[in-house]
Symmetry: C2
Subunit: 797 residues, 2 copies
């Protein structure tokens, strides 16, 4: 042991210790009951096979430790009237978390049929990991949870997300030693470099070393202890160790260490805050706890002659095959009886008063703390006017602007308007400025608790922009921030958002499951700005080119996900304004940062974004009747190339009736039955016709459009051009040529597919092919685009 509490509080009063231990035994009993029992929940009769579930599912191993921690956090809350939430990293501890919230009464309040009596117990046990019941992890169904542990690695970043801007909150974050091996968890330790002792709450990490994963020891548990201590000190913490397996001793020790930890936290906060507080100066060394206890603690020591308690065999169901092996049934009964349920529950099945007395009440219960049901606390963001930030447009395509820079100006105003509420954050992997959102630094800094040097710019302890070169940590912080009732935006290079595919998936699932839970209040949407996108990688190459995140997103439940491709700055403003007002969604905005042509005035942009998709009459042919071809674009670069192609057609083939459609909201393409934004078939057919060629220039992979439209009447005539995985380091225009998305290829597509064009298209076709050759030669000779492309400008007919 390398660090001991500096003060040792008086021993726990025997009575208090007895209450905590009774609580712990009850929680353990309820955990085992959920895994095993269909009936006979209080063992009022001898255990028989028919009382046991036919399929034994769930995870015991981590649960007793989780219950132990819970019972001691309850003590701290009662003693200090502290506001604490409990992040359960070991997601496999679902039954433990349910057990605790049941003992606190919250579970029954939210699910009245699961009452605090024998009938309720029976239902509680039965529903766990049972068809139509509840999942086995700390899912959204578990009151007090903002972290689903099913996929490991995100507990600590979620915890920090919850702690930011919640100065009175302590986020107790239990990290399993399996989870601690993951990359996202390992990166998140450094979150303490971004936590302000004055303005933020605090995270109390509790590293729970029970030694084993599914079938292996864990790295952190088997390291020499001095190395472990060195590691945790290196992460910036002062570790306090609680180690052993004798309950009475462990209770004393845990209570003492927890007191010590909370005292240290309060001392740090007092120094940073109080009348004599000095504000945040440097970074304090926050305490943390290492709890080393046996896996499957208090469970069967041996099963069939094999070590079980304190070993990986406790991971799931230590006793299985009860039907085949009566001894196992007997062992199960002994195990359950070892908690002495008759001492823990009253005649009606409710917990004894001594147990109830150990739990906090009302919103101080960790399962009832409103921070863990953030929608309760969520305040609508104050939204500034868009007009002062809009680009003035007198003619379509008259000026160039950097769309995300314009958005940055608006975000700066959002930041200001909500400064007092402290409920809006921007996160990103060191790309806020690179993504042209730097105007936000006019009103805030990047959060930074380490030393600030004279040459540093926009760094400070009060910064509201969080930047760390870990997309995982950014995503985890933002999820935790949103789930505790606040608002935010994640700006990221488009290609690298794939790094958080799996976190995105899990958050989408959380939102989906939460919709069916009446007591979960809506939380703000998770908003992504994906920029520095596939078509704008001047400084980088193939590794930075991947527009496929949208495809991952489209696999999730349609109503959760929205995908926007604003074609210019004013549409980006409207989309940004919209998404920041929404809840329970994941909004993906893809927009470029490079100077590009601007099309719509703010009013036009509003109308266009409202519709989500629409004909750009000003760019279309004036002829009446059905068009000969529908030129469709989604994305800023495809929009420019489409308009450039239209201009070529207008000049060289004026009789061709061209309709131009721009898609801002990708979801409009899906059938209405699949997505609420989907256009009804009649409207879709009116836009895209039922039989005319549709040349679709799309920002991402072409088959995405096919996937969305394959049920539409005219789908057979959709010809989609997009990113074909032809990536490299070159100019943005050359990128479009390599992938056949450029104006010349678009014109060639029109010529190939329209009757009207075929008759007079030979000359134009040859001209386009010549242009492509000229481009090829020019760019390889000079390294920049032909003047024809560089100087191109839309001319209103």
């Amino acid at each position: 042991m390398t660090s001991k509490p500096q003060t040792t509080p008086a021993s726990l009063a025997t009575e208090e210790l007895r209450g905590i231990d009774a609580y712990w035994r009850a929680a353990n009993y309820l955990t085992v009951g959920q895994i095993y029992l269909l009936d006979n929940p209080l063992l009022r009769e001898p255990l028989r096979l028919e009382h046991v579930k036919p399929r034994l599912l769930g995870h015991w191993g981590t649960s007793p430790g989780l219950n132990f921690i819970y019972s001691h956090l309850n003590r701290v809350i009662r003693q200090r009237d502290a506001s604490i939430i409990y992040i359960c990293g070991p997601g496999h501890g679902g039954p433990a978390m349910v057990a605790n919230t049941y003992l606190e009464g919250t579970y029954s309040e939210l699910n009245p049929d699961i009452s605090l009596d024998e009938a309720g117990l029976r239902k509680l046990f039965r529903q766990f990991s049972f068809p139509g019941g509840i999942p086995s992890h700390a899912a959204p169904e578990v009151p007090g949870s903002i972290n689903e542990g099913g996929e490991l690695g995100y507990a600590l970043s979620h915890a920090y997300g919850a702690a930011f801007d919640n100065p009175d909150l302590i986020v107790a974050c239990v990290i399993g030693d399996g989870e601690a091996e993951t990359g996202p968890l390992a990166a998140a330790w450094h979150s303490n470099k971004f936590l302000n002792a004055k303005e933020d709450g605090v995270v109390l990490p509790i590293l729970h070393l029970n030694g084993y994963k599914i079938a292996n020891p864990t790295v952190l548990a088997r390291m020499p202890e001095n190395e472990l201590a060195s590691l945790l000190i290196g992460y910036g913490h002062a570790p306090l160790f609680v180690e052993g397996d004798e309950p009475a001793v462990m209770h004393e020790r845990m209570a003492s260490v927890l007191d010590e930890a909370v005292q240290r936290i309060r001392a740090i906060q007092l120094e940073a805050r109080g009348g004599g507080g000095r504000g945040q100066k440097g970074r304090p060394r926050w305490p943390m706890i290492v709890l080393r206890s046996p896996k499957g603690w208090t469970g069967p020591k041996e099963v069939d002659g094999q070590k079980t308690e304190g070993f990986w065999r406790s991971h799931q169901v230590p006793l299985a095959g009860l039907a085949a092996d009566p001894d196992h049934l007997k062992l199960l009964e002994e195990w359950l009886q070892s908690y002495r349920p008759e001492e823990l529950f009253q005649e009606d099945g409710s917990p004894i008063a001594e147990i109830l007395a150990t739990t906090p009440v009302g919103t101080r219960r960790m399962s009832g703390n409103p921070h863990a049901n953030g929608g309760i606390l969520r305040k609508t963001l104050v939204m500034p006017e868009l007009a002062p930030h809009a680009i003035e447009i007198r003619q379509f395509g008259e000026t160039k602007a950097e769309a995300t820079r314009v958005m940055g100006g608006f975000l700066c105003a959002v930041m200001q308007a909500n400064e007092a509420a402290r409920n809006f954050r921007i996160v990103g992997p060191d790309e806020t400025a690179s993504n042209r959102l730097q105007d936000v630094f006019d009103v805030t800094d990047r959060a930074w608790m380490e030393e600030v040097l004279p040459e540093d710019t926009h760094l400070g302890p009060d910064g509201r922009v969080l930047e760390i070169l870990s997309e995982h940590t950014c995503q985890g912080w933002l999820e935790g921030y949103l789930l505790t009732g606040r608002h935010g935006l994640f700006s990221c290079y488009e290609a690298f958002i794939h790094i958080v595919d799996s976190m995105f998936n899990q958050h989408a699932k959380w939102l989906d499951a939460s919709r069916d839970i009446p007591w979960r209040r809506p939380v703000s949407s998770l908003n992504y700005l994906l920029t520095s996108h596939v078509w704008q990688q001047d400084h980088n190459g193939f590794s930075h080119q991947d527009p496929g995140f949208v495809d991952v997103a489209l696999n999730k439940k349609a109503d959760i996900v929205r995908v926007y491709f604003p074609p210019d700055a004013n549409t980006l403003l409207c989309v940004t304004d919209h998404v920041l007002r929404t809840w329970d969604r994941i909004n993906i905005i893809v927009a470029g940062k490079a100077p590009s042509w601007q099309w719509l005035s703010l009013d036009q942009a509003r109308a266009h974004c409202e519709a989500g998709v629409g004909i750009w009459e000003w760019a279309s042919s004036r002829g009446s009747g059905e068009p000969d071809v529908v030129m469709t674009c989604a994305g800023d670069v495809p929009t420019v190339e489409t308009l450039a192609a239209v201009q070529i057609l207008r000049e060289h083939m004026p009789a061709l009736n061209v309709r131009v459609i721009n898609v801002v909201d990708l979801m409009t393409l899906q059938p209405r039955e699949v997505h609420p934004h989907g256009l009804p078939d009649r409207e879709f057919d009116a836009l895209f016709t039922t039989d005319k060629p549709v040349i679709f220039a799309y920002h991402g992979y072409p088959w995405t459009i096919h996937r969305l439209t394959y049920r539409r009447t005219n789908h057979a005539n959709f010809h989609v051009r997009g990113f074909n995985e032809e990536g490299t380091t070159t100019t943005p225009f050359d990128m479009t040529v390599l992938n056949g998305l450029d104006r010349y290829h678009l014109v060639l597509s029109v010529l190939d597919r329209t009757q009207a064009a075929k008759s007079r298209g030979a000359h134009l076709k040859q001209m386009m092919q010549e242009r492509l050759l000229q481009h090829h030669d020019y760019i390889r000779a000079r390294g920049e685009d032909m003047p024809e492309v560089r100087d191109w400008k839309w001319t209103t007919a």
Copy 2:
């Protein structure tokens, strides 16, 4: 400084130091030249604007440090005849890596037009980040690289992958302090717990702290130094520090520290290996180096009055806007002249002899080391016979087996057959046994260098199975292992493979780019077994259910990716046998681990896998002529449900002509023009008809099948059932019901879509609906499936 070398080697001879410094200046000059110059490569005339590239792209900041390290590793190689490869974590250092490989001569040998003279220099400079030229990162085009740094985080896991089973190799791994903030990198530090000093090589991590990312300080560079040292010691290393900015002092110090590091490595290895070696006992404390040097070292100190050297402004192009600002052009010329090119290059433009004398020769050059072009060293895997592992099948659907357990037996034989070659590894996040591959532990252990307790099973220093609860680390290890010429398999829960989506993407890009590089030799394919799949999550719930990795994979260049859905154990054997023989591919195998019905004998399986898709005549109706309906299945669970549906139809609607098609190789569905495995349209039409309903039961998301088949003649009649994101904790059969993939829904689909069925289908339709209701009631009452489902068995007609 917390740790100093224990021995200080004699000061470098002045001459040697002068040579190294000349080399370093030359490398720096070549780096700046690549970023800036189109012409006048040796500054033989005053620098004019037309000598400078019109678009200035690339990254200077990290490069001088990379060059510094390279020059000193060269010294160590020459002095000790060491075999060292260089992993460049800071991918932005592309121009530096190219510069070094050019000075070593390798670049010109592999690219004869880039000769070691003035003409070659001109081309070398011009091609960098230039259309049609080379990318800006350490991409596959860079000799000696096995790590593309474009997406940060994988340097260290790649390094360990390279070191495993290469006892003579030192993998010098430069980790940028930006990269060090990522999760995958943070997790990979613990790789040293899996490295055997006797049988493996070693990784020498060089943490390069230049202090800044794009626009921010880095976490590791600003931490107090004692905390940093504590962190690195906690990671299990003995850190040696080299810090400063005065070149002469830094050269001395770096040489001394590198000597110290290599001496310590050799001492550890000698103890583990030599005649007096004790074998691997416990885990040694490997040395590592912390190099703290200014960002943009030797570049412009200030630009426009703003600090540039030693600050983030050096990140990309410190001097820009040369056309607008003649002072910048002047500064650039002074910067280039500061390296005194006239002293470094001879009249013909080739480097002076003193520089050439500092580089190793032949395959000792880091850019020429065959380990970094692993295909050179790759030996074909010895493949055992499949027959001894096959399930005996006398009748279709006669027995049940766990497919992956059968595969495990075969992998055990593969492990044995290649034991002497030590070139086959299995990696996974603690799931090898959970995924039923545990037979491999009959012949090997899990690698483990920490203490082994008496109760531990299958743990040991010589284990060839690598398990850590970090999918990122598993993926990185395997990529490094394959790229250095070996073979392997990654077994993973299906849902959690999304964690490495982005790593998969980058590896696919690496393989794609490598195909166009003639000197890159083929490397073994990256093979995934995805199991514990969406339909088999008894112990878990929604969080563990996601079959969407295939969709990410399908976005990559078609020829790189293969996706297999073997329906039973013998087909899984054939697919496994096949993928282990392939190269330059990514093979994804999706197969269940639960006991399930077996269909094909080994011979039948071979024929079926060879075709990739085919009619199962034995399950189809015997009638001649075109079928009334085509029942298609891809995946093990969909196959069972399809056959159960066929059996119901056969019993209740014997006149209906049903064709059963099973798809093993998903790529056969795509057009031949898109994928080399794609069926020609005529063959596809012969199987799937041109006008009959196709009821397609698919393992994953239904739209994946639409995306693959939308160009096929009969696509409008494809009705696909698959995972609709209806996940929960329940029985596998109930999961199919919730998603409409079960036998009853399949029969209903047939009834809805066939004329033949419509006339007599009312009764059967009602029966199916009743079954669904019965299922619903039964499972919610009993928690297990109806006997009708549990006892179902295929009966041959």
